[in-house]
């Protein structure tokens, strides 16, 4: 299992915290209420991704927004919340109180936008710091088990970068996750870029 040095970990955490900090600003502006986002923890996994994630979100079904990023390194990025929690976020942001299970299309769309803001901000922060450019797909919305949403085979050697994200709104705190799936080559490229950045400071 690949291990990052403490310095490399700190650099990555910093990149993501800058990203989600910017995202929080955009979102606060969008809804006129203070939203705070932070990423306190980071883990790298090579096995049992879906199971680990399930254990983290304490829910069999999860809600996710994904974008595929391509460039010098490729990554599938996901913003993940336990099912049900997303409604709280979206309702608060939309200022609506009624929750009807069948009326989920608009919520899915709103959540896609929230995911889009957060994922774009993280990638922007990464491309600023590591001096790389990425292309990206539009966000996609998923609802299902972690296994369905992350169709990873053990032999694929996929690295999962798992970041805990604290989502705090007025009177509410929600735990979510940022997940980046990277191939071995992309992961190595990421580390190379981080080392390059660290040697430049």
């Amino acid at each position: 299992m690949k291990k990052l040095s403490e310095l490399q970990q700190d650099a990555l955490l910093e990149i993501f915290n800058i990203g989600v900090g910017n995202a929080a600003n955009s979102m606060s502006q969008l809804i006129n209420a203070e939203i705070k986002l932070s990423v306190p923890k980071l883990q790298i996994l090579l096995k049992d991704h879906a199971n680990v994630l399930n254990a983290f979100v304490h829910s069999n079904r999860i809600c996710a927004v994904s974008q595929n990023f391509t460039g010098p390194l490729n990554a599938c990025a996901f913003l993940v919340f336990p099912e049900g929690k997303t409604q709280e976020i979206v309702h608060r942001m939309m200022g609506e109180s009624v929750s009807a299970e069948e009326l989920n299309d608009m919520e899915a769309e709103a959540l896609s936008e929230i995911g889009n803001i957060i994922l774009n901000a993280c990638i922007s922060s990464m491309s600023d710091t590591l001096q790389t450019d990425f292309e990206s797909t539009l966000p996609r919305y998923h609802l299902g088990s972690a296994k369905e949403i992350f169709p990873i085979k053990e032999e694929d050697n996929q690295f999962m970068l798992l970041l805990h994200i604290d989502f705090s709104m007025p009177k509410q705190k929600i735990d979510g996750y940022l997940v980046f799936l990277l191939s071995l080559e992309s992961f190595n490229e990421l580390i190379r870029k981080i080392d390059l950045f660290l040697s430049g400071i």
Partner: protein, 328 residues
Amino acid sequence: MSSHYSDLVTSSPPWVGIYAGTVNSLSLGIVIIGKFSEIIFLNQWFIRKSGIDSSHYIGRALTSVFPELNQSHLSDSIDSALRRNLPAVLSHSLNKAPFPLFDNLDQPSQRIQQAIHITPLTLQTGERFCLIQVYDVSIAVKKERLLREQAENLRSLAFIDGLTGIANRRRMDEYLADEFKRAKRNHSPLSIVMLDIDYFKQFNDTYGHQSGDFCLQRVANVIKATLHRPADLVARYGGEEFAIILPDTSFSGAVILAEELRKNIEVLAIAHESSLVSPHITLSIGISKAQSYNNISEATLLSQADQALYQAKTEGRNRVRVFSEPSA
């Protein structure tokens, strides 16, 4: 700059002409922004719905044509597409109607509701543009609002007693479960008052069911009017039985309220000639209270109020009784 692109359009027929025709025939708005944030292209749909003079916008900054977009999430997203190559979605839920677009330009109060996709377009030459797609989601939004209202209506109907307009049994069960949990957590008192109209069957037999219904409505109204705090809930528990949930209310508080209720009904003086206790409608009332929450459930609390009510009845009706643990 714009001539450059029109050259391109004429230089390689027929495909470019077909593309241009297609884009102009689409039933959605297409806006293309250049690297200086200037407008390069607006399709016919967008021009029609925005009513802007087509000779005036080409080459102008989007935010000077639409000043309200200055420092908006929309213009930030366009910047991010141009500078960072990142796409964005702007949902209707969070943005409503960023562009001033109208189905009827004479009625500028009703904007077209929008969902927007923003995509960077990078040519082989490396030159980058930003494509904005504006979808009209007005119909979907209207439908959604209607559904929401209906769902809310149905929901409230499902929790209201049709005859008296107060909460029904189902609503009371939910409320009691919530309040019981809360009281247990906070170690705060919780009382239940159960009341029953005396000799109501005889009332119905004497005066008819319509009068019976009217009597129930009047009693419900008196109870509602007697309750002081928003947290107090009265529900129709059964035929002529009502229950009141009193959070944060001590035994003595519940007794005072019950006595007040009993008197208020007496004062109402609804004639009841077949009653054996009074010439008017009267109430029998039972009260229970959660003291410690160790070995008691909300069901026990309800049944204790019911037992107290039964006691009030057996002791002669038109009175208030509180539940007391039978001494072993």
